[in-house]
């Protein structure tokens, strides 16, 4: 039981980060039907910037309280990512808005390679590690452990999601964004400044990515220039799982994917241990004797689950859990 609860907590933590990244994918997709392939790299830049600022401030020994240092890291990462999000849209996507779908996807791949290697040049080839500046007390609930960082990540992501929901459903910009995602031309005729709405969508998505970057950086205690690709893919899978273009869907999909992944990693070894199956164990008595095992797939297959979920969703329910059935607008 405690493994179950433990993996649930780990999954929820990871899932909240996925959810925030997935929001960035889903907002952009909802408005211009583009998979912003480089979004994962924005998360990476956020993590790298925040960690280097935090390391620098810690190393300077000015005597700032740790909370201020972390906040300063976030405060530097957000504008940096926003600038990247804006620049990316302006340079690589806006000129191609009317081009065939393949074109912006290919530029997005190009942008993500460029971002990765610029990050390699600016920061370092080696992983940046997160300095231990704050105590990270671990609490115990019913036999499972939850750390303060995990609580902060889950709590922070709830706040971020609430803020985004408010922005989209209660502000003028939010109304403009929803109008644009309904129909770009008509929204334009109604006086919505389309270019500005699309730019702000990218910028908001990038700000979310920065926050997610800080979260994942503190959670794993490490940031690396290649971390964005896999994270981005998983978050995209989460967005598709929830129904791409749907905000609540991205949140749900992110959390679900995190839990599926953690549970999968926790239990796959047990499920694929052939010694657990009596009729096979009988054939391999010498290997299975004395509690021996014959595990086909271990937890090192953790990364596979996101893709399996993605492929399964796309085959059985392409519109996702909460998505509406959309016609092919190619």
């Amino acid at each position: 039981m405690d493994i179950f609860l433990q993996q649930l907590i780990n999954g929820l933590t990871l899932g909240s980060v996925y959810a925030i990244v997935a929001l960035g994918y889903t907002m952009v997709y909802g408005i211009i039907q583009l998979i912003n392939f480089a979004h994962g790299e924005v998360v990476m830049v956020g993590a790298m910037v925040a960690l280097s600022v935090i390391s620098a401030l810690t190393g300077a020994q000015i005597g700032l309280p740790p909370v201020v240092i972390v906040l300063a890291g976030i405060a530097c990462a957000i504008p940096a990512c926003m600038a990247i999000g804006y620049g990316m849209e302006r340079i690589a996507y806006r000129p191609l808005r009317k081009a065939p779908r393949l074109a912006p996807l290919i530029t997005a791949i190009g942008i993500s390679i460029i971002l990765q290697h610029v990050a390699l040049l600016v920061f370092s080839r080696n992983p940046l590690s997160f300095p231990q500046i704050m105590p990270n007390p671990v609490f115990e609930i019913a036999g499972a452990h939850i750390s303060a960082v995990q609580i902060a990540i889950i709590g922070g992501s709830v706040v971020v999601m609430a803020g985004l929901t408010f922005l989209v459903y209660r502000t003028r910009l939010g109304i403009a964004m929803r109008a644009t995602s309904e129909n770009v031309q008509v929204a334009g005729l109604m006086g919505v400044n389309i270019d500005r709405v699309i730019s702000s969508t990218f910028v908001i998505g990038a700000a979310l990515a920065a926050i997610a970057g800080v979260m994942i950086g503190t959670y794993y205690g490490i940031a690396h220039y290649t971390m964005g690709a896999m994270l981005g893919l998983k978050a995209f899978s989460a967005a598709v799982l929830g129904g791409i273009g749907n905000l609540a869907g991205a949140m749900l999909g992110g959390v679900l994917l995190g839990v599926v992944e953690a549970m999968g990693a926790g239990y796959i070894g047990e499920f694929t241990d052939l010694c657990q199956a009596p009729w096979i164990a009988g054939l391999m008595t010498e290997r299975c004797a004395d509690g021996g095992n014959f595990v086909l797939f271990g937890s090192n297959y953790q990364d596979v689950f996101a893709f399996l979920v993605l492929i399964a969703v796309l085959i059985f329910r392409p519109s996702g859990l909460l998505g509406e059935r959309v016609s092919d607008r190619a």
């Binding site: 690589a92 393949l102 791949i109 390679i113 297959y301 092919d328």
Partner: protein, 359 residues
């Protein structure tokens, strides 16, 4: 061969002379390169190998317009198939003419397995799913060392047999007519022949009924369906054919390098092949080969120029040539899409589509 040269109809004599000259140059090339170092012959071989890969991907991306971001997985399947069936790892040493078809068929099977459920998806979803598929294959290659050691994990497989035909060994240097012919040079000729065969196959495919169906699907899937094309099967065929070309190239890669590891089959490689197709001109066979050659040689040239230059100016290497190479790939993808979406050497159809209507 004549069909490969479009200018052929206008002046046959000049065209024939040109073919003769190019052919002679290609025959002499490895010996000229060997003067600069065997490394350059190896680089040329890799360039041809990448041209083969790019031609395979071109069927999928260029002809049928399906963006495949996991293409390198098929290359990996072919390479591992060869490595497992012709190395001391399992103690199997089958001849290559047995393994290459197996590798191609296996890659083709994987292509169909991937394509069958996913090809009804819209293009951008397909791209992500193929990317995921590529990653799954890579993770499998890395982890299938336990509990039964199949792929030997990250260490890869070593001592893979070279190509051998009845005592003629492609990896051993030999003296022909007083000329020293090294292993890489032998492989060069083999690869060149394979490249020409694949190009001819591609040209014939392009003008065939299937090729026209692919282009029709790329241009407008709904219209193509209305014209009576079974879009699902035709798309599946593109996937399967692209995959089997990848499998063959993979087998040759394994034999040539005699060592493979999952390192060679990562996402970046998929993107590199895609960059070659895009740079050269999606859908144009000559353009794709040009793209492959350019993107294989420019980074090597950079390695030999940028590094000494940096050493001379700054006293040390500031920017790794590998990083410059990747930055160039990224820039090439972005700039090509922005300014020359049809590629450096666009196909005729693409040029016609993109040119403003004259009448």
């Amino acid at each position: 061969m004549m069909r490969l040269f479009r200018g052929g109809k206008d002046s046959p004599v000049a065209a024939r002379a040109a073919i003769l000259l190019v052919g002679l140059a290609l025959l002499v090339l490895p010996f000229a390169l060997a003067q600069a170092g065997t490394a350059w012959v190896r680089i040329t071989n890799l360039a041809i190998l990448f041209a083969l890969l790019a031609l395979g991907l071109n069927i999928v991306v260029g002809f049928a317009g399906l963006l495949d971001l996991g293409y390198i997985a098929f290359y990996g399947v072919g390479a591992y198939c060869y490595a497992l069936l012709a190395s001391p790892h399992f103690g199997l040493h089958l001849p290559f003419w047995v393994i290459l078809p197996i590798g191609a068929a296996l890659a083709c099977l994987f292509g169909v397995l991937l394509g069958a459920p996913t090809l009804k998806l819209r293009g951008d979803y397909l791209a992500i799913v193929t990317l995921g598929f590529g990653e799954i294959i890579r993770i499998l290659l890395n982890n299938l060392a336990q509990p039964i050691n199949i792929t030997n994990g990250p260490q890869g497989i070593t001592l893979i047999d070279p190509f051998r035909i009845a005592g003629f060994d492609f990896s051993k240097p030999e003296r022909w007519f007083g000329l020293m012919v090294s292993g890489p040079i032998k492989y060069y000729y083999l690869l060149l022949v394979v490249l020409i065969v694949v190009m001819v196959v591609n040209v014939r495919l392009q003008d065939s009924r299937i090729g026209r169906a692919w282009v029709a699907i790329r241009e407008d899937e709904t219209a193509a369906q209305a014209m009576g094309i079974n879009t699902r099967n035709v798309k599946l065929l593109a996937f399967a054919m692209g995959a089997s070309f990848g499998g063959i190239a993979g087998g040759m890669f394994a034999a040539m390098q005699s060592f493979i590891s999952p390192e060679s089959f990562v996402l970046v490689e998929s993107i590199m092949v895609l960059a070659m197709v895009v740079l050269g001109g999606m859908g144009n066979i000559w353009g794709v080969v040009l793209g492959a050659v350019l993107l294989s040689f420019v980074p090597e040239l950079l390695r030999y120029t940028v590094e000494p230059m940096q050493k001379a100016i700054f006293g040390r290497t500031l920017v790794d040539p590998e990083v410059i190479r990747m930055l160039l790939f990224g820039l090439a993808l972005v700039l090509m899409m922005l300014y020359r979406p049809a590629g450096l050497w666009p196909s005729r159809t693409r040029r016609r589509e993109l040119a403003p209507a004259k009448r």
